[in-house]
């Protein structure tokens, strides 16, 4: 009976690392969010007070928190469908029998995914420059007024949404592609014999078969999009007029700029709760729909 003790040697180190450096801090976050840990407490732990749910209540009364929540929801509600639509579209195009140079296209379309977000955010910030950016130049050629992409409170978040779609669509595209390849040819044959156009085939064969994948991709993308942080940090610093402050950005500023760890932990937990709730909702809705 060598197996049991040996198994612990195998799982032990990993479990230890995960336990100490992930699960323990998550539990501690719960505790931290019930205190008013701030810069004074950093100086002297004696200055720490237990405040119960005060941080949560105060957050709910802070206008910037609600703005951050709103911004994040805006990003998710618009960004996720856009990203998934582009990914699905790209996958369908690649999957089509009419497509040539498939592996070149697939690599090219996937390239943005592996790039460092900070590096390409810098590039995009310049491409969308009000005066010297390529995008406004093209618009100018088309006779459209230049848009202050990153300086106008109404356009900053849409720009970030576009950027996120560009950066991430390749990821879901590959997943869709793999699942498209798994749809049996006979189903398409049958539909074609019935005289269905490519559009009807899409609607009645492809999409239903992709159902579970759509759900999975939807949940993964939604959960990921809720964690928006690096784009505002690099491109807009939360501006203009706090229109691009996301919940994580807000948490980062509370925690690591103002050193209010108690409040920041509360925000992080609220975010987690939100992601959990939305994910659960998506699962329930899809269960009912199917």
């Amino acid at each position: 009976m060598n197996a049991p003790p040996f198994a612990w040697v195998f799982v032990g180190p990993a479990l230890l690392v995960i336990g100490v450096f992930f699960l323990l801090p998550v539990a501690a976050a719960l505790g931290l969010s019930l205190t008013d840990f701030d810069i004074y407490a950093l100086a002297d732990l004696d200055n720490l007070r237990f405040v119960g749910l005060d941080n949560y209540l105060r957050m709910l009364q802070t206008p910037l928190f609600w703005q951050a929540l709103g911004n994040t929801l805006y990003f998710v509600v618009v960004g996720v469908p856009l990203s998934i639509a582009v990914s699905l579209g790209a996958a369908l195009l690649l999957h089509s029998r009419l497509a040539r140079f498939r592996s070149f296209f697939r690599t090219a379309l996937f390239a943005p995914v592996v790039t460092s977000l900070v590096a390409v955010a810098v590039v995009w910030r310049y491409l969308f420059h009000t005066r010297y950016g390529m995008v406004n130049h093209v618009l100018d050629q088309l006779g459209v007024q230049p848009i202050d992409w990153l300086g106008d409170p109404h356009w900053a978040m849409p720009t970030i949404i576009l950027f996120a779609a560009w950066k991430n669509f390749g990821y879901n595209m590959v997943i869709f592609l793999a699942n498209l390849q798994a749809i049996p040819e006979e189903l398409y044959e049958a539909a074609r014999i019935d005289g269905a156009s490519w559009f009807r085939q899409l609607l009645h064969v492809t999409l239903p078969m992709l159902g579970p994948t759509l759900l999975l991709v939807g949940i993964l993308t939604t959960a990921g999009y809720f964690q928006l942080f690096a784009e505002p940090y690099v491109m807009t610093q939360g501006g203009p007029l706090h229109s691009t402050v996301s919940m994580l950005y807000f948490m980062y500023e509370e925690g690591f700029k103002w050193w209010n760890f108690g409040v920041a932990s509360a925000v992080a937990l609220l975010l987690f709760g939100l992601i959990f709730a939305v994910t659960w909702l998506l699962l329930r809705l899809s269960g009912r729909g199917a």
């Binding site: 100086a43 009000t130 202050d148 300086g151 690591f256 700029k257 050193w259």
Partner: protein, 421 residues
């Protein structure tokens, strides 16, 4: 025999005096922004005068400096000395991270407190204790287009609010709908802060534990500020929306711009030679006459956890010598905080700097609480909302006070416990 013994002893003594490489102390010096890039040029002379000290400079970008300093504090990896914006001094003093410097100053032959502009020196004094030595100063005053003001019918820059309003109204009339009288980027808090500091009432009351933004003084300042937008004297935009401030100033888009010392060199550099006689600086007008302005700038501080505090202090003394301060000014355009340094010809002859010399005698520090940076951010957000017409002044200032009171709650609690600085 005695002679040989004496010689031997002398040799031993001397060899002890000449520092071997292993005796060299290396002090870590953190600097930010442009100053960081430039200070390295001042160090070879210091190291020559102090062969037992080596200075290792690390440059931090301003945008990350605050976080880095706090993380270093938490991780116990602060340097020996550092350049600290003087609005951060209260915060680090509250953390008990800074060494007190009064004894050093008392014993110093280089640094004399009376030589410094009092408003600037006082930014480093908290609860009677001295935590930093001013390194360079920053304040805000008027940069203006002499020719546009003259065309509007005025020979001299305004000295009071009332005069200023008259000048701005006349300039705006000349400029028409597409022009403005003054540029006030909505993301900059310094202009409004300067106007607020000119008032008699303080910005925080009750030993800086409660907001006093609903006081008549601040309301007057905010009203004056908002009026400039209401009358269309100032365009309603943030700094990022002006693509090139200097080009627009040259073009005459606005006649007044409230800015700091670095722009002297920038304007000299970026405006065309034929326009160099068209602009000038002037002290900030106050409610009843020449007014106060912000007491900005940076100090040099020594951390309590410094491994070589005496060596760090010697570097501070070196950088505080008037001659070195003038050199620093040449390299960065930053203004020295010591009156003696201002007597140097290079500063005394700089006509653009005269307004600063005058203004520096009338600077007032902002409230010295750690929460101030957050509070001033809230102040600016409130001002922007008032300017954009989203909320009235009374409502806005009362709401601001409520938020500020909430921010200062911990400070109130600590003071009540008797444990604060």
């Amino acid at each position: 025999m005695m002679l040989r013994w004496l010689l031997g002893a002398l040799l031993v003594l001397l060899s002890g005096c000449v520092p071997s490489p292993s005796d060299r102390q290396t002090i870590r010096f953190w600097v930010m922004g442009r100053e960081g890039e430039v200070v390295a040029r001042l160090l070879p002379e210091f190291e020559r005068r102090n062969p037992d000290i080596r200075v290792r400079v690390q440059q931090l970008p301003w945008t990350a400096a605050h976080e880095k300093l706090l993380t270093a504090y938490a991780g116990d990896s602060l340097p020996d000395l550092c350049q600290l914006g003087n609005t951060w001094v209260p915060e680090f003093a509250a953390l008990r991270a800074l060494a007190e410097l009064k004894p050093e100053v008392a014993a110093s032959r280089v640094i004399a407190a009376e030589d410094y502009f009092p408003g600037i020196w006082s930014t480093n004094v908290i609860d009677g204790r001295l935590y930093g030595i001013p390194w360079y100063v920053d304040t805000r005053l008027l940069f203006y287009r002499r020719d546009l003001v003259r065309d509007a019918g005025f020979d001299a820059p305004p000295r009071s609010w009332e005069e200023w309003e008259r000048v701005m109204a006349a300039v705006k009339e000349n400029a028409g709908p597409a022009g403005y009288a003054i540029l006030l980027p909505l993301n900059e808090f310094e202009p409004l802060l300067a106007l607020a500091l000119q008032q008699d009432e303080p910005l925080l009351r009750d030993d800086a534990t409660r907001g006093a933004f609903a006081s008549p003084g601040f309301r007057r300042a905010l009203d004056f500020y908002a009026r400039m937008f209401r009358n269309d004297w100032a365009p309603t935009m943030a700094g990022a929306q002006i693509s090139n401030v200097w080009a627009e100033f040259e073009r005459g888009l606005f006649a007044f711009y409230i800015s700091g010392p670095w722009n002297i060199e920038e304007f000299k550099r970026r405006l065309r030679p034929e326009h160099q006689r068209d602009w000038m600086t002037a002290p900030l007008p106050g409610p009843k006459g020449p007014g106060a302005s912000t007491a900005g700038g940076a100090s040099l501080v020594v951390f309590r956890s410094a491994r070589h505090p005496q060596a760090a202090w010697r570097l501070i003394e070196y950088l505080s010598e008037p001659a070195v301060q003038v050199q620093f000014h040449q390299l960065t355009g930053n203004l020295p905080p010591r009156r003696t340094a201002w007597r140097d010809r290079r500063l005394a002859d700089n006509e653009y700097a005269w307004a600063f010399r005058e203004q520096l005698e009338r600077v007032r520090p902002a409230p010295k609480v750690p929460e101030w940076e957050r509070i001033v951010g809230e102040m600016q957000m409130t001002a922007e909302q008032v300017v954009r017409g989203r909320v009235g002044i009374d409502q806005a200032t009362q709401a601001l006070d409520r938020r500020v009171d909430a921010m200062l709650e911990k400070r109130r609690w600590l003071l009540a416990r008797g444990k604060s600085q």
